[in-house]
Symmetry: C2
Subunit: 279 residues, 2 copies
């Protein structure tokens, strides 16, 4: 039986990259949780002794500190670079992009609008790159615009990478009607949609689909539902212990996908277990 | 009786300005019709001997040539400047703006999208300012985008000044979803809406409203309908001959507005006639 992974699955590019970086630096520590998955953070601690700091004042001069995928505010990064031996930047490149845009647009005299959650570490980081902190505005919905006073009628817009495109368009449309120039940067990451597209593709070819992820995870359930549309033998499991060998009798092509918070090692255990079944 | 004009009425800013310019240059000629109103062009010919050329090859070295409100293509302007004694630019500033944007954005390596009618003189002029004429694209509706191949994923957008905002937003939204950066310049002129807002304001104060314009003109009828909402004594007339003195008996405040193609001299004749009525 052929076993094949979807062309895009599980952790997004930025999360995968951050974990690879963390694994290279044994005995380091991350500034804030590296990613939003506790199991994986525990594994990095256990296997690579990667620690976790929650505030700048805790770091020690001899530390190697890894910047989390969501990035950190500009001044925290500056302070960290002055205070510790080595700083490794694992900020997702899709997050570095809006940081740089905000930096450059603010310098060029644009008012800045960030569509995102003001409390989210990614947004805190992106916002910090504006040269005029009084003219960078964070909103969650189009209605919030009524409380925003821009200094210019040239506006540059970025979005938190995980936000909904439709809402972003509503916001920029309102701005376009009221301002001379609106410079819209599409900084929303397509990872979720890529996983869905890939699951759709592979489930059309497979005669059995294994979807790995939390049963209460919204994006995992969406993947399962997409697979079921194309392959009636689609199973949603959390780990290898839920696999049943009977599912694979007379099957020729097993497709595999995984939710956005499923680590690769969980996926690998599933693949190993499937391979162990006698045909 | 107080007689007052709406704060915005009749010809838009650019048309008014062009006519003032033409009146200053007796015995000149315009390159293409100065504005889209034949009566007014005939009047300029009769009163100021302002002629009309329809092609560049007709101009003579001793001519003073006036550029029409819609502008002309860049190379035509260059040729004209070489070939005649004096060139007066009556291009509406709201049309010069997208010309300059296209020039600068094209130079900065942006692909250019123009929302407008490719056959319209304004659009022909704006388009001509791109440094890469193979990467400036004119479309009339969002569906046209499927035939457009941009060279870059940085797009700058302008709109013909008289186009509908809602359609412009549909177009730029499609672009935002597919490109890294979309720079949206709001080049749509608000003249029509300004006349409507001003008609609304004055008709709330007046006890008689006179709306001057063609009875088949869509924007004039819209003005009349707005006035009727606030002032039941609102009359739509084409010229002073339609006025009836009985309308003004016991009235204290006469408001006046006019459609976008109504010349000021028609409006003035109406005002003079109203003033001549015995109270």
């Amino acid at each position: 039986m052929k076993i094949e992974l979807a062309s895009s699955y599980g952790f997004c590019f930025g999360v995968k990259r951050a974990i690879e970086i963390a694994q290279k630096y044994e005995n380091s520590a991350t500034m804030g949780p590296l990613i939003h998955n506790e199991d994986e953070i525990n594994r990095l601690k256990k296997d690579f002794n990667v620690g976790l700091y929650s505030q700048l004042s805790d770091v020690k001069p001899d530390d190697t500190v890894i910047i989390r995928t969501h990035g950190i505010p500009k001044n925290d990064l500056k302070e960290l670079k002055k205070g510790v031996k080595k700083v490794i930047n694992a900020t997702c490149p899709f997050v570095t992009t809006p940081q740089n845009i905000v930096k450059n647009m603010s310098k060029d005299g644009y008012s800045i609008l960030i569509f995102g959650d003001i409390e989210h570490p990614e947004v805190k980081g992106v916002k910090s790159y504006a040269s005029d902190l009084d003219d960078v505005h964070v909103i969650l919905c189009p209605e919030d615009l009524k409380n925003v006073k821009f200094k210019n009628n040239k506006i540059a817009c970025v979005a938190q990478t995980t936000k909904k495109k439709e809402t972003y368009l509503e916001i920029v449309n309102a701005l376009i009607l009221k301002n001379k120039e609106v410079r819209v940067f599409n900084t929303i990451c397509d990872a979720t949609f890529e996983n869905q597209d890939a699951a759709r593709d592979i489930s059309k070819k497979a005669d059995i689909m294994i979807v790995i992820g939390g049963k209460s995870s919204s994006n995992t359930k969406q993947l399962h539902s997409i697979c079921l549309e194309n392959c009636k033998n689609s199973y949603l499991i959390e780990n290898e212990n839920e696999l049943e060998s009977s599912w694979f009798i007379n099957k020729n092509y097993c497709g595999i996908t995984a939710g956005a918070s499923t680590p690769d090692w969980v996926i690998q255990k599933v693949i190993d277990k499937i391979k162990s079944f006698k045909p």
